[in-house]
């Protein structure tokens, strides 16, 4: 069973940082396959994920095991910016890997 991500649907797709975004997508994998999903922002821009303890990071990592061939994700992330508005939109990239192989998909989020 190939490891495949569906298109990432951000909700909402326009935010005013600091703001929350829900990332909706599905993962297709073999049952029992161990995977790692990571959520990534470009290193150069001034946008960060804010974790529950308040720390700002560029990458969030969620390891997991496929309970079925199709796993539904509704990942809530909080996006904050450092300094004044620098971007009009940004790419949030989701990567899933299992061993050497994997899949990657991105979504675009607008900043108002």
């Amino acid at each position: 069973m190939p490891l495949q991500l569906s298109t990432i649907q951000p909700s909402p797709d326009t935010i005013s940082p600091p703001d929350d975004v829900s990332l909706n997508f599905t993962l297709t994998a073999n049952v029992g396959a161990d995977y790692i999903v990571s959520y990534n922002l470009a290193l150069g821009n001034n946008l960060y994920f804010q974790q529950t303890d308040g720390t700002l990071v560029k990458q969030l990592v969620d390891p997991g095991t496929a309970g079925g061939t199709l796993t539904v994700f509704n990942k809530d992330v909080r996006i904050v910016s450092k300094g004044p508005k620098a971007n009009t939109s940004f790419v949030l990239k989701v990567v899933v890997r299992e061993g050497l192989n994997g899949d990657t998909k991105s979504c675009k989020i607008w900043i108002s």
Binding site: L43, G44, N45, V91, T104
Partner: protein, 546 residues
Amino acid sequence: MDHLLSRGKTVFSFYFLLLFCFQGAVCAQTVTKQKTVTKTTNIVVAGTKEVTLDISGRSFSDILPFDVPFILSGTTGISDKMTIDKIIAIECFYQINTTRKDDQTIPNATEETKYKNGEDGRMYASWQNNGADTKWRLSIKELMPNRHYSFFFKFKRKLSDDERAKLAEHASRIIPPLIAKHVDNNIVSLSIAEIGQIVSETVDKLKSDLAKNGQDITATNLSSVDQNIIAKAMGDLSFAFQQRIDEQQSISWNIDALKADSAELEKVLSRYKASADKKPEHVNAINNALLLLKSVFTYPKGDNAVNKGQSYLDNIERVKAELEKANIPGDEYGKVKTALTDHLEDITTNFNGYAERINNLSKVTDAEMDKFVATVIRTYEDAILVSATTTNNNFVTRSNSFITADIGVALLPSIGKMVPYLGTNIYLRPINQDRPLFIKDLFTGKDFDRRFSLMLGLTYSTLAKDGYRENLMSTFNLITGAGLRIADFVKVNGGVVWYTKLNTNPLNTNNTVRGLGFVSLSFDLQIKTVFHKLFTADVTTIPTKP
């Protein structure tokens, strides 16, 4: 008594003529100030000469008038296809071409300012399309006579659909590589500043390319709405890039996994070849699969992914078929085969996605570049140089600029007579009688060279006096002198009327030519129709002020 009456009539006629002519001059000035026919930078009066710019021949329809402002007009841009509705504005920069050569260059921005400020004899005119004009008009200031001029025109116009498409195509080659520079940790990230930089670099490159053809584009100052449009266009384009990068990354990972599977397959094959129950067809199938797998490790990129992609996918299918053929019993081969098949399917999915993203990138690029050009580049500029002259090359026509005729009355104080005469005035420079002369400027010395002329004429009433003088020529006498136009068609003159002085001895025929000093007032013959109306028409038909 008759003599007195005759003289009285002459004086009365002269006074009436003078009064009417001044009144006419005032009326003419009043009329011209009321009628403004264009909205250009200079006031252009009714009756002003209009010269047309012949676009195809890069020339004017006529010799340019001098001493008076005139209108330069046309209905098209630099080509007959560029109709007036496409023209936004026209700027005209002109000055005397002292070299009289057609090697004038297009002025740069600094020089343009000098033209606008009127420095060193440079002049400037402009026209804005108000949407209702059927032709463009430029008000050209007074030009000097007998000079060559260089006119530089800048036509600011809208982009035609064809030009917009071409510029978009051009921009689509420039912008993607600029965006590709901003890949950050496999994520395309464009800040507002970077978008501005890309816009600026793109416009600069487009300008540079167009300048080679003497064309120019004007990038507009982007409003906040325009900035949002551009940001969105760049955002969509960069996301299309991002999607392509994502697919490439996925392909790359799955190829890594495939390489590991391939190494495992080699080990399985090695063990199988060493086993007692090996079958050559299975060995051959696995060898074929391993060989074909090497061709799968490298995938076609860019346009090749679209054009040669099917061949790559066919190889993947052949590998899968060879793996099926090698029906080696046992879990070891089964696991490798499943892993290989899964990863090959992953690659097939990712590669199809990659090819689709390339197609999508092309479509997005086309669509977004059209928006880019429409937003950033609103104006296109065409520039042309036209040489022109105010010198008429026809001798007879040119002489008209130097010589005028008038009719006048000369007062000869020394003999107490007034005589009418017909005179020709010879100016020392070409004059354009359409240029108005005002009495108020007379004493300032302004336009002296346009007022002063030499005079030569004939009196047409006799000065003969029995036993004392005879007319110089039959019934005429030569009149010479110089004059000064005090207003448009009124001159004061002074000089000498030449007559034949008879010898006091009636038996002696050796007569002499003598002169009588005179002062005169004369009127240009071109207003003969006014004279005619004055003396022949009913009083009620005399023109009045509007």
